[in-house]
Symmetry: C2
Subunit: 121 residues, 2 copies
């Protein structure tokens, strides 16, 4: 029941595409992630996922288009929709994610960066 | 699946302590609220609640202390914990709330400001 400062928490890690958990709310979790470059195409069959941009500009790629999500904006990816988050050039983007604690990092896809557990910070 | 701009959404309403829903994620909802002054003491028996400060400084009062939550910070109030959000003096504070769609606005307490449904914007 203490305030969590996002900038302070982002200072606790530097690896990309590697979410860290800062809290839980019911059966959901709040994750912070630093991302750079392109992730992996995947979807979550039964779970929605929220991405809030805290710094920089996220490119949320869908199969039929790309949405540009800027600082101060968020996007909700509904269950079942294939997506691949990315950033422009060498930009590092800071994200806050809300998702179920059961949501698999890369859905049913296996990638070298796939995590099965998120460090708590 | 469109980006939601928080500033644009905050511009859609002006009433205080009157959350507006901007989206749903699984069985949770994302609400925006403008708050000013003091709310009502209440708790939610079985549901946690997240408050993220988008603008200003929130005073989250608990029975034994008050936590100061600043812009760029968030606080998670666990189920069962009595709380009363407030602001300093005449400051209007902008909040993003993340809670279950079933969470009652003022828990089991009835107040003139209690809402049973949140407008969608």
């Amino acid at each position: 029941m203490k305030p969590l400062n996002l900038q302070q928490k982002f200072g606790c890690f530097s690896n990309h595409w590697h979410p860290h958990q800062i809290g839980t709310v019911n059966d959901m979790q709040v994750l912070l992630a630093k991302v750079k470059g392109e992730f992996v195409w995947h979807s979550h069959d039964t779970e929605d996922e929220l991405f809030q941009v805290v710094r920089g500009t996220l490119l949320m790629q869908f199969r039929d288009r790309t949405e540009v999500v800027r600082e101060g904006e968020l996007i909700i990816v509904p269950r079942g929709v294939e997506h691949c988050p990315a950033t422009r050039g060498g930009e590092e983007v800071h994200l806050l994610l809300f998702e179920k604690q059961s949501t698999a990092h890369t859905g049913g896809v296996q990638d070298a960066r796939t995590q099965t557990d998120y460090p708590k910070i």
